[in-house]
Amino acid sequence: MSPTTAAWLALACPLAGTVVNALGFKVIKGKLPGVIGTVALAAAFLFALIALFSLQGRGGEHRQLVSSLYDYAVTGTVDAKLSILVDPLSILMMLVVTGVSTLIHLYSFAYMSGDRGYTRFFAYLNFFVFSMLLLVLAGNFFLLIVGWAFVGAASYLLISFWYRRTTATSAGIKAFVINVVGDIGLTLGAFFILKNSHTLDFLGTFSQAKELGADHHGDLTAGLILLLVGAFAKSAQLPFHTWLPDAMEGPTPVSALIHAATMVTAGVYLIARMHPLFEQSVAAADVGTIIGAVTLFVAATIGMVVTDLKRVIAYSTMSQIGYMIMGVSSGAYVAGLFHLMTHAFFKALLFMSAGSLISAMGSNQNLNDMRGFRKAMPFTFGCFVIGGLALAGVPPFSGFFSKDEILLFQAETGGWHWVLYVVGYITALMTAVYTWRMIFRAFWGEPVEQAVELEHGHLWHAPQPTNPANGEVEDTDVGFPGPEHHIAEWALPMKIAMGTLAVLATVGGVVLIPKTTTWLDTFLEPVFKDSTVQPAGSDGLLWFGLALGAALGVLGIFIAYTIWGKANGEVATRLRERVPALHRFFANKWYFDELVDFVVVRPFGWFGRFGQQTFERIFVNGTLIGGPSTLVRAGSAAVRAVQSGFLRAYAALLLVGAGAVILYFLIQSS
């Protein structure tokens, strides 16, 4: 089977899963939708593997294949075809997406059972995977934009999955609006590039990269910065990041899949895919690098103070994606994609474990209420530890290798990138601190009542289901979470999924161990061999970086233990009292939401109100429409007076008219 056929089939599987689940929801009962969804994804993963082996079976020069299914609209300047591009980059993304998605489907098979919207969940989830595959396989801007928009829509559908919760629907709308802003950037950016390249096709555009950079530098830079706007909105970078923490309103598998492993990495993929163009425009690349660096720092500071378990992990995602964006913008493509892959593993693992812990807490997500779960949930604790070690960057876990690759590249580039190097390592320390803060707070100390009940083999349930965000009472019917809670220790599918990811998080770094294995490098070489950004390697910096990374990781764990691990967290309270202003600043997320509200939301609201009350009501309705209509009405009222119903008036008019005509003829003839 050729790689492109396998890729088309991999695209078709989740689409089939969606359609079957969506159209047959009345017929398919019980857990069958879960089975359909998971099997569809597993088939897609299988096809992705087939595509991988098929592609590797070809020679090195023939590893970029385009396959077009249908010419949608081909004119002189626009060639919109349904074409996919199969090359190592898209295969890597396909594998990550389908692989992690299969595991998450398996996890949700158990986690979401009991929820009235089970079928709908799997339909949406399959639709999301289809859209994401469309995005990564797209061979031209046309399908890329389509996939981008679909992914945004799927994100909205899944964030507001429990649609009777107003917090969830508001979060969904917020995410969608910011994503649409990104879509505008993406589309406009594609247009700016299309304007001069006259083709939507990727390979066609990239072959003209040098001419575009030389002759139309302004247009190219503008287009790339607009593309970056799209990437930032999708990947939750500053200043378009405010939707990601609120997106934690969705069910935990959604957070694991979309907002950790796949959708938010679309921006990283975009920059990596457009790398020939980015290398032509230093300004755009620098914008990406700086925003990535700023985001990773800001997100880490906020992650250290938030008290909602899933939001800690969300800010961690934001920070790690900042690393990836910084990497691919500055030219460290393989390193950035390597970090994308390992991050998918350990972040999904962390989210799954968080889901299990939240189930044990009876849907309570507040970190302040969790303590002492170590004995009650050993498997979940183990997964948290593995994920935490990988995230903190402790060798030999996967996160260690990938993160250091990126920072090494910054050091090798030199110049002002040294600042990024320093910021990156400071943030690495903070990463370890906030990750292990979460783990120590939840698992150390005196067990809370939920943990105690669980130790006695009995899952704790809240007396009344409530919305964890604002405490509103709800029920367990459709549109709200189901009555059942599932923890990993008792549900085998969850255990299998989390176990697989734990293994991958541990050994995933093996594909690119410096000086030892270069599997990922050689795999991705056909895509990035035309890269012009290749700084000189430096062994000294390499060992220094590795050592520093490991040391900072361990130091962070130690600091976290000191503050939160022992003595039930009293040190934390005292620390907070010493710097209240700083703590408040971080806890309010650097006041970004307020800033966005002030700069964007209020002017738009004012503008809309002005439009309706002043312009629409007075000007359009009153003058433009009211004017002529009043005029006509007045005129017709005047004319109407002639038809009075008065017979004698009619007779008189008749005769007067006749008299006038006779007079006229008299005058005429004389």
Partner: protein, 99 residues
Amino acid sequence: MDIGWYLTVSAIVFCIGAGGVMVRRSPLVILLCLELMLNAANLDLIAFSRMWGNGDGQIFAIIVMVVAACEVCIGLGLVVAMFRRRLPIDVDEMRELHG
């Protein structure tokens, strides 16, 4: 006599009829004034027929008489219907058909 005399009489009778239509309020009398106008036209027609020497005008006058008879029929039928419904026989009161 000169034709002109007959035409003068006809004109005067016509205008008296016209004035009567405009002034009177009872539909019966208005119809009578209409008859006056028609008769004036008849006189004119006969006069001109005499002037030309052929009988065309007289035929025209016969037809006018036929029309007048029909119109009186219908008009009186209307008045009878009005009377049947106890409406006032007064054109000033009958002005519902207005714009």
